[in-house]
Each structure stands twice: as C-alpha cells, then as structure tokens.
C-alpha cells in the first residue's frame, strides 16, 4: 500500500519561501523605495520640519504612531494589492497546486513586508535620534519589535482582501484603509488631539490600539488601559486571520 501513503514534508520550505520572497521584494525598488521612504518623509515633515511647542520631547513621542504607520503601508499594499495582482497573474494558482503549505506563502509575504517595514523604521528612528530623541536600549528594542509586529493584523486584512478583490479594487481599498487607519488611529496626529467623533471611530481601527500600546512602551499617557488595547489587537488579528483563511479556502484560483 505504499501508493497510498504520503511522504513527510521536506524541512526548510518556510525558510526558503521567505528568503525567496524577500529577494523578490528587494528586486522591486519601485515598490520598496516609496513604501520605505513615505513614512520617513511624513515623520520628517510633521514632526521635525514644522515647528511645534512641545519640542524637543515631541520627536520621541510621535515615534509611537509613526512606527505603526511605517508598518501599515508595506502590509496593506504588499498583501492587499500584491496578493490580488498575484492571483490575477495566476501565481497563486501555481502555489496552490504545489505541495507548499498555505502558511508558508503567508509567512513569506509577511517576511517581505517586515523587511520593507524594517527599512522604513530604521529611517524614522535615525531621524528621531538626529532630532534629539534619547531612549534606553531596552525601550528601542521593545518599540522596534512592537512596530514590526504591527504588520501582522494589517497583513492578514490585506490577504483577505487580495483573495477576494480584483487588483484594481484592492489597490483602491488599500489606499482608503491606509489613510483611514493613519488618521483615525492617531498615527499622524496623536489620537487625544483629534475631534471626538474621530476618536470614537478610531477605536475600531487596529492602528489606534497599536499606537496606544506603543505609547505605553514609551511611558507616554495612554487613552484607556494597555491590557484592553492588547486584547483588542489580538482579537482583531484573529478575526482578520479567519477572514483571510476563509478567502484562501473558497477562492477557486
């Protein structure tokens, strides 16, 4: 009955898939450069170039939100639009008939999104240091990990979009979410400075909760309890993951 037994999966599929995906994204500077430079440019403009009464502490304080902002672009566009394009080109079909586990594809794209995010974060952190931000090594490390992990909920949301929408539709929706999450989540202007109705809407975005957790890491004032923000982010991530998985299962191509 050897004909009916399946051999075990070879080791290293996930690692090779991730390395290949990162290599692919590095070969697309037209995607990599704008997504990595835009958050740094925004940070420089809003935090450093425009005069602000709270300076110099302001340079460090706004890092919390802009780091989350740096993660939304690569995750929403790399996944949402990227996956939709790959689906239309038949690249996903190629993967789906192969023995590659679905998880390896998601992790590989996540690795690529995090690589792009890491470039963007490095630029923002460097600008902050130049502007006088001084944090302990432990705080830098905690914040960097949180900012990189911020990719995950946006990536899963984008993945669900990519499996359902056309490339054009996904780009449009990713743009709308990118702006909505940034403004309502308080990534550009801290949430507490926004009008009340925007703060109310912001509570429904993962970006708001991630930014609040990042503020806690920086020992800044937080709206509400950090634990509640953490639980909310985890729940939102799980919901996005379920939505993405259902999209992968039901999509015929």
């Amino acid at each position: 009955m050897t004909a009916l037994t399946a051999p075990a999966a070879p080791a290293g599929i996930w690692r090779r898939e991730a390395l290949t995906e990162v290599k692919r994204s590095l070969r697309l500077p037209q995607f990599l450069l704008p997504t990595a430079l835009t958050p740094a440019a925004f940070y420089a403009l809003f935090t450093l170039a425009l005069p602000h009464p709270q300076a110099p502490g302001y340079a460090a304080a706004t890092l919390a939100g802009y780091g989350v902002f740096a993660a939304t672009g690569p995750a929403l566009f790399g996944f949402g639009a990227g996956v939709a394009v790959e689906r239309e080109q038949g690249l996903i079909e190629l993967k789906r008939v192969s023995p590659m586990p679905a998880g390896a594809y998601v992790m590989a794209k996540l690795a690529a999104a995090m690589t792009t995010t890491a470039f963007a974060l490095a630029l923002i952190y460097a600008l902050a240091i130049v502007a006088g931000a001084r944090l302990s090594a432990g705080t830098w490390a905690m914040m960097a990990m949180l900012h990189l992990a911020s990719c995950i909920p946006f990536a899963l949301l984008g993945f669900g979009m990519g499996m359902r929408m056309t490339a054009k539709g996904a780009v449009a929706v990713a743009n709308a979410l990118f702006l909505g999450f940034s403004v309502l989540g308080g990534l550009w202007i801290p949430s507490a400075m926004l009008p009340g109705w925007m703060q109310t809407l912001g509570a429904f975005t993962p970006s708001f909760h991630l930014a609040q957790i990042a503020r806690a890491v920086l020992a800044l004032p937080v709206t509400g309890a950090v634990g509640v923000h953490a639980v909310t982010v985890v729940a939102m991530t799980a919901a996005a993951g379920g939505w993405a998985w259902a999209g992968w299962r039901r999509s015929p191509a």
């Binding site: 399946a6 999966a9 290949t20 290599k23 079909e93 789906r96």
Partner: protein, 303 residues
C-alpha cells in the same frame, strides 16, 4: 478491481456546480500509474473542472476526489503531484533557476535542478529572469515546475499550446519516458494528434460525464474505419442510405461520409452518381471518432 489497486487518483460520483450550472454530473474517473491518459472533449465539457478537483483547487459538491488516498486539498496529498497549468503565471523578477529551486524544495525527493532544466530544454536560459521569457519558453518553465519534484502523477493542462513543433515533440518524448518509468500522466489537449500519439488511454468527456474510455486505436476503430470525401450531386440524405454509411454530411463543397466498409460504400456511390469527382478516402482519425461520439448529444441539444 484492478482499477482500484492501480489508481493513483480518482473522482467518484462527483457532482460540481459552478455559477448555477451543473458542470460535473456524477463523474467517475480513475488515473492509473504508468499510463498516459488523455482527457478530451468540447469546451465546457468539464475537463478544467475535473483537473481543478484532482489538483485540490476545488472541492466536489457531492462525491469524492482522491489523490494517493488523500483529499487533494491537503498539501500532503500533493507531494506526489506535479502540475502544469494553462493559466498560471511566473514571478517576473526571479530567475528560472531560482524559481525551479524553490519549487523543487516543496517535494520530499526532488529531481536535481540541472536534470529538470535539461529535461525541459531550459539549460541555456537558467539565469534569465522569468519576465524576459517568450510564451513558448514560459510554457517550458511550467513543464519544468511539473516535473521538478519527481512526482508520481503529472497533470498537464494543454501542455504544448503556444509551443513550436520542435519544443512540443521534445516534450512528448520526455512525457513518454516518464510514463514508461511508472509515472501516471493526465493530459488535456485540443490537439487530437497529440493525444493520439501520446496517450495510452483516451477519456472523452461531454456535459460533465465520461462518454468513452478506451485506447486511441479502439476509439478510431469504433468510429467506423474510413472517411470518404468527394464532389457529388448526391444530397447527404440520400448518401446516408448507401451501404455501410454511418454518417453523411457536407464539409464545404465536399460530401463527407464515414463508412464501416469503404469498398462497399464507394462502389454504390459511383453507381449512384456517374459524374462524381475528387474522390478521397482516409482512415478515420481520433477527431472523427470523437465527433461521432459527441454528435448524438449535439442533436439532442438542438432538438
């Protein structure tokens, strides 16, 4: 029950609806090791859907799809499956060697990369990026991806579409060699000459069911042996009554008859029309055989 033991993949009593239309209707289909099986039929017969079910992209509404004893949607079942799709794209910025290497890595006992590239005739292009390949070259890359894992079942969907004659012949030779080594091959094709020369077994599909399952030679024989063409004043309705005629119709300006006994038919034909011209007789091809199989259904739909 020889069938059951040798089958590497099967669809049992499968029904599938897509967009409100019944595409597969209680379909039974088994693919056996060491055989090249051609799946033929008109557009919309359900070939693509059958392939999608066997490769795990779709699940049946009723019945079961089975690949090496497992659900094809499980990656474990696909570790012995190699697929060449018609519609699949290639990642533009990867080189061909990088792509084949990462794909081969999905399989437990892959073929050495250089051997895969040589079999697909791609050795000289290995360091080219996929985005720089011609249509025919991209098809060969798809073929390389199908064979790189040394799979026990190869599913080839229109493998030689967009390939030139030389590349197509080279591909046929390697497919034949892989089947002779024990691989099962499932082939869909619009090129009936390709199916005839390559397949050990032909499955003809129509309206979501298998309407014939036989060797190409047996199917040709079933079609009645010979196709007679001539210029004649005799109308097809009258010609249909001649001895041994199975089918009569017009093909352009020609009268076309399918005959079980060409000599008897031609003798009567010459007697019936003294001014007959341009008489030609050829063996029935696989195309004729399949046309004969499908004809009754078309009439039924038209009626």
């Amino acid at each position: 029950m020889m069938d059951d033991l040798a089958a590497v993949a099967r669809l049992s009593m499968v029904t599938k609806r897509l967009g409100g239309r019944v595409v597969l209707d209680g379909l039974d289909l088994a693919i056996r090791a060491g055989e090249v099986t051609a799946l033929l039929g008109p557009n919309g017969a359900g070939k693509t859907t059958s392939v999608a079910l066997l490769t795990g992209r779709l699940a049946p509404d009723a019945g079961t799809a089975c690949l090496f004893g497992l659900d094809p949607r499980r990656p474990a079942a696909r570790r012995r499956l190699g697929v060449m799709l018609q519609s699949a794209g290639l990642p533009d910025v990867l080189t061909l060697r990088e792509l084949v290497t990462v794909h081969a890595g999905y399989y437990p006992d892959p073929r050495p990369i250089e051997e895969t590239l040589a079999l697909a005739g791609l050795t000289d292009l290995a360091d080219r990026r996929c985005g720089q390949l011609s249509g025919g070259q991209a098809r060969r890359v798809q073929y390389a991806l199908a064979i790189c894992g040394r799979a026990d079942l190869l599913v080839l969907d229109e493998p030689t579409a967009a390939m030139d004659c030389g590349a197509a012949r080279a591909l046929w030779a390697t497919v034949r060699a892989l089947a002779d080594d024990g691989a099962a091959v499932l082939l869909t094709s619009h090129d009936l000459a390709e199916a005839d020369s390559l397949a050990d077994r032909v499955l003809v599909m129509d309206a979501g069911r298998i309407v014939a399952d036989d060797t190409p030679a047996a199917l040709r024989a079933r079609a009645g042996g010979s196709v007679i063409r001539c210029r004649s004043t005799l109308p097809p309705k009258a010609a249909a009554l001649l001895p041994a005629v199975r089918e009569a119709g017009m093909e352009g300006a020609d009268l076309r008859l399918v005959s079980a006994d060409a000599a008897a038919t031609v003798r009567a034909l010459l007697d019936a029309d003294g001014r007959l011209e341009a008489l030609r007789i050829v063996d029935a091809t696989l195309e004729d055989a399949i046309a004969a199989l499908l004809a009754p259904t078309e009439e039924r739909i038209a009626a």
